[in-house]
């Protein structure tokens, strides 16, 4: 009994790390621009398709493909902010705030991207059969057997690498100073000579680049399929809110909690009931402390 719970806990942690890696970008984008990017899942899916194309056409492993895809997604993120969100922010200045429009535009964008890929690729489940997905890490001590794909372990550590990188960029660089300034008070930052919209675009780009890295790890062991985005997109939201919107460690912590609850929960109740558990956990959290576990207080 204890064995299986312990193992479930470890599997949950591993899975949670991957969730966290995906959710990080979302958290950063919200923290800086206050935009809830409903197109996050779609961006993830888009990146996995780019890896898939690179792999099937040129045989490039997604871990290598990172070098190509991450910049592409970074610019895609910047373009999204510049072309779609900034015009809305500019329009809203001075008039009454309508935060719904920011939700809607990303929702529409996500819907469009998801279905565009459905149109192009159909809904086949594609896989990228690399070495990392085929080789397993196995620890066997008597009855105790822990085994998982290397790709999953890499995804777990990727969460921390992405997290630390983002944290470093935001807290330790000149660019980060601007980002922090803008996220705290956009008008004051503008007065101090920070190009607010450019900084927003960079932050959005960073968030999307982060999801591209997570996409590389995911595409190593999961499917490449247009609906993958929706699956992880919804989860990412729950995770980010649980951990605290805008908090980098919060996103990872939220991911780990989700993974563990799903996995350990399934040992005691049926799996489908356990997937309800995560939703319930999310809603309880929201009603008790809407700012999330590690989020800063404030009105929601």
């Amino acid at each position: 009994m204890l064995d299986s719970v312990l193992l479930a806990f470890i599997y949950g942690i591993l899975q949670g790390g991957a969730y966290g890696a995906i959710a990080l970008g979302l958290s950063v984008i919200f923290g800086v621009t206050r935009v809830t990017n409903f197109a996050h899942g779609a961006m993830l899916m888009l990146s996995t398709f780019l890896y898939y194309e690179l792999y099937t056409r040129f045989g490039i492993d997604p871990y290598l493909g990172l070098l190509i895809v991450t910049p592409i997604l970074y610019f895609l993120g910047m373009a999204t902010q510049k072309r779609l969100i900034t015009p809305l922010l500019k329009k809203e200045r001075g008039t009454t705030q309508d935060p719904a429009s920011l939700l809607l535009i990303t929702l529409g964008l996500g819907y469009a991207i998801n279905n565009l890929f459905m149109m192009i690729y159909g809904s086949d489940y594609k896989t990228i059969p690399t070495a990392a997905s085929k080789s397993y890490l196995t620890i066997e001590v008597g009855d105790f057997l822990f085994t998982t794909q290397w790709a999953r372990i890499i995804a777990f550590f990727a969460a921390f690498v992405i997290g630390i990188t983002l944290w470093f960029i935001i807290n330790k660089t000149e660019l980060g100073k601007r980002i922090r300034a803008v996220s705290q008070n956009r008008d004051a930052a503008a007065i101090c000579g920070v190009d607010v919209y450019k900084t927003y675009a960079i932050a959005f780009g960073l968030g999307i680049a982060a999801v591209a890295v997570a996409g590389a790890c995911l595409s190593e062991y999961y499917f490449v399929q247009p609906q993958v985005g929706t699956l992880f997109g919804t989860k990412s939201f729950l995770i980010v809110v649980l951990g605290g919107l805008g908090s980098i460690p919060g996103a990872i912590l939220g991911g780990l909690i989700f993974g563990v609850v799903e996995s350990v929960g399934a040992q005691f109740i049926t799996s489908s009931a356990s997937s309800m558990l995560t939703f319930i956990l999310f809603m309880i959290m929201l009603f008790l402390k809407p700012s999330g576990l590690l989020g800063k207080g404030g009105k929601v």
């Binding site: 939700l103 529409g108 809110v241």
Partner: protein
């Protein structure tokens, strides 16, 4: 309010009246296949109008409204199947239960705003879907889990809400839509409507004027759930099958919301207009290209959404009515003075 406006009732409304006439009369003369599209237009228009009552006026984005649609469908159908109760009665019971459920759900949810509210509604929708899919029985009621509810065909029976031809279904739906539009209109022109618009604009200021935020939001929620439950009953009776995977789906919720938003949230006719625009397009695209280019119609949904938010943040309602008004002036040559008085009516 000047005299010309009163004497010319038709002024500025001619195309609206024409539109209503088309919706009322044309389905009589078209093939069943076109009637189906008309039914879908009104069905989605109805759902979007109900969504609009709470979300359009209060300004929060609910992405879980399919839950209430499903509640209506399930309760009235279960009453029919297990209680042999006519859907005409059952739908009112369903409506009351759904409204009560809406209030219970709304109580904690309305404490949240913006993305938090939207995400909670998504979570709620998924939660209910998974719950229904995995439970055969709830409180001793046989909800039949993932199998869904299947209505047996009994022939053309008014009492059982079953008709041989589409046109009868259509006119039943017309009645539902008319009631919903009327309710929306009444709300918009009453204290409730003013309060909701105030809450949407600025909750703090609204509260300082003595508006009980939660109370009025919940009233709107109750009305919205009450009405959308009728749409649910209609869905069940029309398709004669309710499956949790579809009716509680996230896609359904998003579709309802998108139609209302494209049409124009917070307006009386906007959601219906949105359905008139989007449903025929998507039906056409999915019929024509569904086999070759799956997802095309949903892609169009997404693109429309982005364009509307960017260029017509109020929805197409304002632009469409504006266009038809201009057209009217051109055709009928109304003078400029009148035009000004018309402009006054717009907020």
């Amino acid at each position: 309010m000047n005299t010309t406006e009163r004497t010319n009732f038709f002024q500025g409304k001619i195309f609206a009246i024409l539109g209503v006439l088309i919706l009322l009369v044309v389905p009589n003369f078209v093939s069943t296949n076109v009637q189906i599209v008309f039914i879908l237009i009104l069905f989605y228009g109805l759902c979007a109008s109900c969504w609009n009552i709470v979300c359009g006026f209060v300004g929060e984005l609910s992405l879980g409204h399919a839950v209430f649609l499903g509640f209506g469908a399930y309760i009235s159908t279960l009453l029919l199947m297990d209680g042999s109760l006519s859907p005409w009665v059952g739908m009112f019971i369903a409506a009351i239960i759904t409204a009560a459920f809406g209030v219970i759900v709304g109580l904690p949810c309305f404490r949240l705003h913006g993305p938090y509210f939207a995400l909670t509604t998504i979570a709620l929708g998924e939660l209910i879907r998974i719950f229904v899919e995995n439970n055969e029985k709830v409180f001793g009621i046989n909800i039949r889990g993932a199998m869904g509810l299947v209505l047996k065909q009994t022939g053309n029976q008014f009492i059982a809400f079953e008709f041989a031809n589409k046109i009868t279904y259509y006119y039943v739906l017309v009645a539902f839509v008319a009631v919903t539009i009327l309710v929306t209109w009444l709300i918009k022109n009453s204290k409730l409507g003013y309060y909701l618009t105030a809450i949407k604009s600025d909750p703090d200021a609204a509260e300082s004027l003595g508006i009980k935020l939660t109370k009025y939001k919940l009233i709107a929620m109750a009305i919205s759930c009450f009405m959308i439950s009728f749409a649910g009953t209609f869905y069940a009776q029309y398709f004669r099958y309710v499956g949790p995977t579809r009716i509680f789906s996230h896609d359904m919720s998003v579709q309802i919301a998108l139609i209302a938003l494209v049409g124009g949230q917070g307006t009386v006719f906007g959601p219906l207009l949105g359905a008139c625009l989007l449903v025929p397009i998507t039906e056409f695209l999915s019929e024509e290209f569904g086999g070759t280019m799956p997802g095309l119609h949903l892609f169009i949904y997404g693109i429309m959404m982005v364009l509307v938010v960017l260029y017509m943040p109020q929805g197409i309602y304002k632009n469409v009515t504006g266009f038809f008004k201009k057209l009217e002036y051109k055709i009928f040559g109304w003078d400029k003075a009148n035009r000004k008085s018309i402009g006054k009516g717009v907020k």
